[in-house]
Amino acid sequence: MTEPFVLITPTYADGEGRGAVHKQVIVFLNDVANRNLLRGVIASGNRNFGAFFAHAGTIIAAKCDCPCLYKFELAGTETDIARVRQGLDLFWKQQS
């Protein structure tokens, strides 16, 4: 990565929230150069997991000290897509 970015990631947690962040994402974020450019995270998941819905977003936000900006289910709905587009536009304006 060469520019600031927002990470969009799925969630793989078990019933206790363990293993929420996929190994590939962990490897990517372990690279300090990537982590330094991370500005926020958006996570997908399934509400069937209750409190651990899209838990990867919560974990990454805490680990990398960046905001969790949005959570959505599976592939998202049209409303999710519109909110993320609008939200990211505003987010990057505030960042610059």
Binding site: G15, I26, L29, G40, G50, L69, Y70, E73, T79
Partner: protein
């Protein structure tokens, strides 16, 4: 007699250190770490709450749980074993044995609820009702037809995902409804464990479906997709009538239908397809959503708030070993 025979295929031992698809091990680990038994849930704490329901509400609850038992039984004894025959890796077969067994645990759980809360005669009546209810029998038949051994492997997976990610929800609605009114809350805890398992089952079988679909030609893919939507329409038609039959007396039918639409779209997404029902009719009663996720942070859109409402923090010690910063 010879020990080696040319006519018999070689029997192969499953080697978990040689994976063809990493997803098999990932899901195996997920399912085994989620393992539970109904004895874990203190159902007897619901005895007083059960007594506060009217006789009609009690009968509805027993019937709904009997309907769920039937679907779990089908999935345990026919569905998951039928998918095993189509497994493309030995590890997939092993995962499906876990899925089959957990479906047996789910079916068995409803009987734990019954033996704790209900009188035997009422339960026997409900089991008789499940054999006579035309909508419940019709949707079971539609699924069982696809599980028939001659059916296409991808069509079996479609039927399985629709059962796990769609057909259960007309039933799951009721314990979430009671829980939102602080009734049968321990039973709701048990149902949430089932709901969690079904999410993994629907995801995994949907994943295997998508891998299989990728191998087909454009024409074949279109044919499979048309089949999936046609089956969903047929099942939806039966589900709405089943829902009306059960929930009209309590005036909950419209509320349940929104929950059905929402879950039908999720079932289609598990198969890699777009949702069918427009968002306006997928807005689930917030009380039901809150019941599904007790203790959850309800706000998942942090863009609209000020910076301070972003989620930063909360203890995450469980994952430390994975993160070698």
């Amino acid at each position: 007699m010879t020990l080696h025979s040319a006519v018999h295929p070689v029997a192969k031992a499953v080697n978990w250190n040689r994976l063809q698809d990493d997803k098999d091990l990932e899901i195996w680990n997920r399912l085994t770490s989620n393992f539970w038994l109904p004895e874990k849930v203190p159902l007897s704490n619901d005895v007083q709450s059960w007594a506060s329901l009217t006789p009609e509400e009690q009968q509805l609850t027993i019937r709904v749980f009997t309907g769920l038992t039937l679907l779990d039984t089908i999935q345990n004894t026919v569905g998951a074993p039928a998918l095993m025959a189509d497994a493309v890796t030995p590890h997939e077969e092993a995962v499906l044995t876990n899925i089959a067994f957990m479906e047996a645990v789910h079916a068995r759980s409803y009987s734990s609820v019954f033996s704790t809360l209900c009188r035997t005669a009422e339960v026997d009546d409900a089991f008789r009702w499940s054999e006579e209810n035309e909508f419940l029998q019709a949707k079971s038949r539609l699924i069982l037809e696809e599980y028939n051994a001659t059916s296409n492997p991808l069509k079996k997976k479609i039927a399985s995902v629709f059962l796990e990610s769609f057909l259960f929800y007309s039933g799951f609605y009721l314990p979430m409804h009671w829980s939102s009114r602080a009734k049968l809350t321990n039973t709701a805890d048990l149902i949430r464990l089932i709901i969690r398992d079904e999410a993994v089952h629907g995801y995994y079988i949907g994943y295997k479906f998508q891998r299989g679909l990728e191998l087909l030609s454009e024409t074949e893919r279109t044919e499979i997709k048309d089949f999936a939507f046609a089956l969903l329409f047929d099942l939806y038609d039966l589900e709405t009538r089943y829902t009306e039959d059960l929930y009209d007396p309590l005036g909950l039918t419209e509320d349940v239908k929104h929950f059905l639409h929402y879950n039908a779209n999720k079932a289609l997404q598990n198969l890699g397809f777009e949702g069918l029902f427009p968002e306006a009719i997928c807005q689930v009663n917030p009380a039901i959503m809150a019941s599904l996720s007790p203790n959850a942070d309800e706000n998942h859109d942090f863009f609209s708030g000020s910076g301070s409402s972003y989620v930063i923090g909360k203890a995450v010690a469980t994952e430390d070993e994975d993160w070698d910063f």
